[in-house]
């Protein structure tokens, strides 16, 4: 039913992915902590960056930033209900970035994060 009604309705089916558009300055991405008030996941879309970043709030209050680039052939990943998927050869990764289905063999690249002045700083390394 969700499928039949269109994307407007899809967003209300319980699987909408919060998106935060930003830019990169000095190899850093800054995301307000307040964007996590209603969710524990944000899809970060840096301007002119080839890949999105999955930013997740952990139970201990820290944040995990994953580069959504398949470790098999560098294809962009899409965010699914239970992790990430590559449409090129079918590799799948869980929310922690670990491979759950090949051909990819390596986990997703993880960026260091820290919270400074209510801003989550993702260090692009």
């Amino acid at each position: 039913m969700c499928l039949a009604i269109g994307t407007g309705m899809l967003a209300s089916c319980g699987s909408a992915v919060p998106l935060y558009k930003t830019s990169i300055a000095n190899n850093r991405i800054s995301v307000p902590v307040s964007t996590f008030a209603q969710t524990d996941f944000q899809l970060i879309s840096p301007e002119k960056f080839a890949y999105n970043i999955g930013l997740r709030k952990e139970n201990d209050g820290t944040y995990t930033a994953l580069l959504l680039r398949c470790t098999h052939h560098d294809n962009q990943l899409i965010t699914t209900g239970n992790g990430y998927r590559c449409t090129l050869h079918g590799s799948q990764f869980n929310k922690e970035g670990q491979v759950t289905n090949g051909p990819a063999e390596r986990s997703l690249k993880k960026y260091p994060t820290q919270v400074v002045d209510n801003q989550i700083i993702i260090q692009i390394t």
Binding site: C2, L3, T7, L10, A11, C13, S15, A16, V17, L19, I24, N27, L43, S45, P46, E47, K48, F49, A50, Y51, N52, L67, L68, R69, H72, H73, D74, Q76, I78, T79, T80, G81, N82, R85, T87, L88, H89, G90, V99, N101, G102, P103, E105, K109, I124
Partner: protein, 404 residues
């Protein structure tokens, strides 16, 4: 109409060319540095033993060996290739064996969510056509529905546009590729003989493909379609053969829908597809190849990983599965054709797939085949030593597969 499509194609090429000439920005340089290597190598292969109860014979074959090579010129432009050798060897004067590019295309990343491909590629139609690594499906053989009704691996030359929404887990793709050749259709092989696969393809006809995927929790839904012309000859020749020419002249339409679900060790796949060839009667008058008006196929597969709740080294998997495949390659035959009951088949496949690591599979399965009666009128030159046709027989398969 022809002008519209020609202009669209020209526009795509010009857009890609203009895009490729854009100077790299500071951000481009940054993302370019993300890669540790600009060239990637991968591949897959499978070999299996098969015992055929009907022929009372067995064979063992290295069915496929495929090498991927990809090269990233920068984070915006890449090239991908898959070079395949079937049956291990290609020798002059001997039948069997094939070496071909399964894919060879340039990929242009427009942004983090959209990209274009141009070249020889496999459009998103069904499940196997796009993702056909042998360690990712159960059974030594690919399912027959996506071998005969959807002729995977179905690759043609063209341009594809892929993207995904960021607000919802939905992907979309559209493609423009060369059409099929109705003169290549052969009785009992569906659309397969009409493929050009990148070699001197006729561009007298074109085809459009499109697909939408939606992900919801542990589900993946997809609908896809194909519509294209299959005359594959000039207007003058088409007129002389009694075929309709033009971009979509002598059309072939393929529709498909599938759903996949995996959770707690269980995995389920279901797919349905249908092919329509409304001008089949004209094709038969032109080529006498017994082209059907309609084909259809569907399958349902259920599997369970017996090791899903067992902590093992390297996350080993032992999947037991059963699949029911139903297809009819001549569901509707025009007046100019002959119905063959042998092309109406039901297969039940059961077995296991053991993955000591995710990229390596050891497989064992048995395929129980039931077909309708063969139409004796179609046997023009009977083989004097041929065994009587059997409507029920089985294939026992044992094999190994890998990808990396």
């Amino acid at each position: 109409m022809l002008k519209t499509f020609t202009l669209s194609l020209l526009f795509s090429v010009i857009a890609v060319a203009a895009y490729a000439q854009q100077p790299l920005s500071a951000e481009d340089s940054l993302t370019r540095n993300l890669s540790s290597s600009a060239t990637t190598v991968g591949g897959y292969g499978n070999a299996f033993y098969q015992n055929n109860s009907h022929l009372q014979s067995a064979k063992v074959n290295l069915e496929r060996g495929v090498i991927f090579i990809g090269h990233k010129f920068n984070d915006k432009i890449s090239v991908f290739s898959e070079l395949e050798l079937e049956d291990a060897k290609l020798a002059s004067g001997e039948s069997g064996g094939e070496i071909s590019f399964e894919q060879l295309y340039l990929k242009f990343n427009l942004n983090a969510n959209q990209y274009l491909v141009a070249g020889l590629y496999t459009p998103r139609i069904g499940i196997i056509n796009e993702n056909h690594l042998p360690n990712t499906f159960n059974g030594n053989e690919r399912n027959y529905v996506e071998t005969l009704i959807i002729p995977a691996t179905w690759r043609e030359l063209g341009v594809g546009f892929y993207g995904n929404l960021t607000s919802v887990p939905l992907t979309y793709s559209v493609g423009l590729v060369n059409g099929l050749d109705a003169g290549g259709f052969a009785h009992g092989t569906g659309l397969r003989g009409g493929q050009f696969e990148g070699r001197n393809a006729s561009a007298n006809n074109l085809a459009v493909t499109a697909a939408v995927q939606y992900f919801y929790k542990d589900f993946k839904f997809q609908v896809s379609g194909y519509y294209g012309g299959a005359a594959a000859v000039s207007k003058r020749k088409a007129d002389s053969l009694g075929l309709n020419s033009g971009i979509f002249g002598t059309p072939v339409a393929v529709g498909e829908a599938d759903v996949q679900w995996a959770a707690d060790g269980f995995q389920v796949r279901a797919l349905g597809t249908a092919v329509s060839i409304p001008d089949a009667e004209k094709i038969n008058h032109a080529y006498a190849n017994n082209t059907p008006k309609t084909e259809y196929g569907a399958y349902l597969e259920v599997g369970y990983d017996l090791l899903s709740h067992v902590k093992t080294q390297h996350n080993q998997q032992l999947v037991v599965f059963v699949r029911d495949e139903k297809f009819n390659l001549n569901a509707e035959i025009p007046n100019s054709g002959v119905t063959d009951g042998a092309l109406n088949q039901n297969h039940v496949v059961a077995g296991f797939t053991y993955l000591p690591i995710r990229n390596v599979a050891v497989k064992a399965d048995v395929r129980f085949i039931h077909t309708g009666d063969q139409n004796a009128a179609l046997i023009v030159n009977p083989n004097p030593v041929a065994l009587p046709y059997q409507t029920d027989y089985n294939l026992v398969n044992l094999g190994v597969a890998f990808s990396f």
